[in-house]
Symmetry: C2
């Protein structure tokens, strides 16, 4: 008999070799499973997450689930897990979950953000938390390109070639950018029903080339049609990327986007 729990967590990805367990490297999953093993007096507990994040990538709202051999109050588990992990990981919330809940397969969508520091001199306080990219930004071209990736498309051009996934059709519900002239930061937001390996980072690498005038504003259409990773721009560095939220309900995933009405009409 085991008891399923689900948890929401944040982590600073800087000092981890990524989320997923791997031999001879410190990972978020590895640290969490080590804590659970101590808490449960030696049981090997495997954690499932909504998605992996690469080395250097951060999370504001990663979701996990696991089956625990004892029934303990979620608040006690929250305190224990936070005290047995370093401050680089914060477990924000733990709830009992039913057997059907699955952090990955149950997900209806995700939200990512990508932060870019456009100031001339790199800030010591953003070096691990944003991409430094001190070049002029053509905001209108950027917004044209962002519109072109919203919707259901085959995103093969925006998938790292090492990925073996068959079906590369995904729906991007929202793709937007906000510019903060006071701090010199650009913040990209992407929401969709699923993301291919490195998809957001290749979006940003390509979008910045468009924003800098290195590619035409309407290039996204051509790149999508090519279904070829070589047609897109470079993969942006990991430290600007944040997994912000995982949705387990389609209504929440599309809320506030142009897809909200379609969902009500059941046409999506």
């Amino acid at each position: 008999m085991t008891y399923r729990y689900k948890a929401k967590l944040q982590y600073d990805g800087t000092n981890f070799a990524g989320y997923q367990v791997q031999p001879n490297a410190r990972t978020v999953q590895g640290d969490l499973e080590k804590a659970l093993r101590i808490m449960s007096k030696g049981h090997k507990i495997t954690i499932r997450s909504a998605g992996r994040t690469d080395a250097g990538v951060h999370a504001l709202g990663q979701m996990i689930h696991f089956d625990y051999p004892f029934h303990i109050p979620p608040q006690n588990m929250l305190r224990a897990l936070n005290s047995l992990t370093t401050d680089e990981i914060a477990i924000l919330d733990i709830l009992e979950a039913d057997e059907q809940f699955h952090a990955q397969y149950g997900s209806a969508g995700k939200k990512y953000q990508y932060r870019v520091d456009t100031n001339q001199i790199i800030s010591p306080f953003k070096r691990l938390y944003a991409l430094h990219h001190p070049y002029p930004i053509h905001l209108e071209d950027l917004e044209t390109a962002l519109k072109d990736i919203v919707g259901q498309h085959d995103f093969s051009s925006f998938c790292a070639s090492r990925s073996g996934k068959e079906n590369k059709v995904r729906t991007v519900y929202e793709a937007k950018v906000e510019q903060d002239l006071k701090t010199g930061e650009l913040v990209f937001t992407f929401r969709g029903n699923g993301f291919l390996y490195n998809m957001v980072r290749i979006f940003v690498g390509t979008l910045l080339q468009i924003a800098n005038g290195l590619r035409p504003a309407d290039d996204m259409k051509r790149i999508l049609a090519a279904k070829d990773r070589n047609a897109a721009g470079p993969t942006a560095q990991p430290q600007g990327l944040y997994l912000v939220e995982v949705y387990y309900d389609k209504a929440a995933a599309v809320k506030g986007t142009i897809f909200e009405e379609q969902l009500k009409e059941k046409t999506i």
Copy 2:
């Protein structure tokens, strides 16, 4: 023949054993002097700063000066110094300075900030940049206590006992706190004509005890009168502290404070 330059810099103090050079430890001054040695093809150049900062303490506007054996355009020096130091240090600005300029002795005052994260669970993204202090804050008591430290006082009670400075009279021009309910952050700001060793950190350690009701709201008066380090609270952790600005002009140092009028009347 040497040429004096002054520079304004930021640094993330996390990975440094403090600002000042010391044997067998990485310091901000050490990294900068190493860069100058490379740039000048082997000259040993000593940097003077407005003030030392301890291990883990950050700077948004530290000031330094040094005498360089060659005359080179400040913009070239800025680029060279930034490229020869890690991204943990950002040289924001370099100017030629006259022989009389001295980063430390010429200073008319300084501004420090201290950030406190009052959220229940420590944020992975603030752990190195704020003090985690998840306790209820009585803002009114805090403001009473802050008022009591403004002005000219003997701050012996707020000086680390290892300090040997004779005269412990300083003037605090401004002492305030801002509470951001959205982020759960408290930001203290202190401006004064000079600060004793650990003075800001002992202020904050004591102020938080007052804010938490562990000391009466009017305790600052008693502590100041005692002129005894043991009368004050603990030294707050270094990672919340930022050296924000160094003033070389009294009018700038007191601008916007209750001392501005006094300066105009030349009574200060």
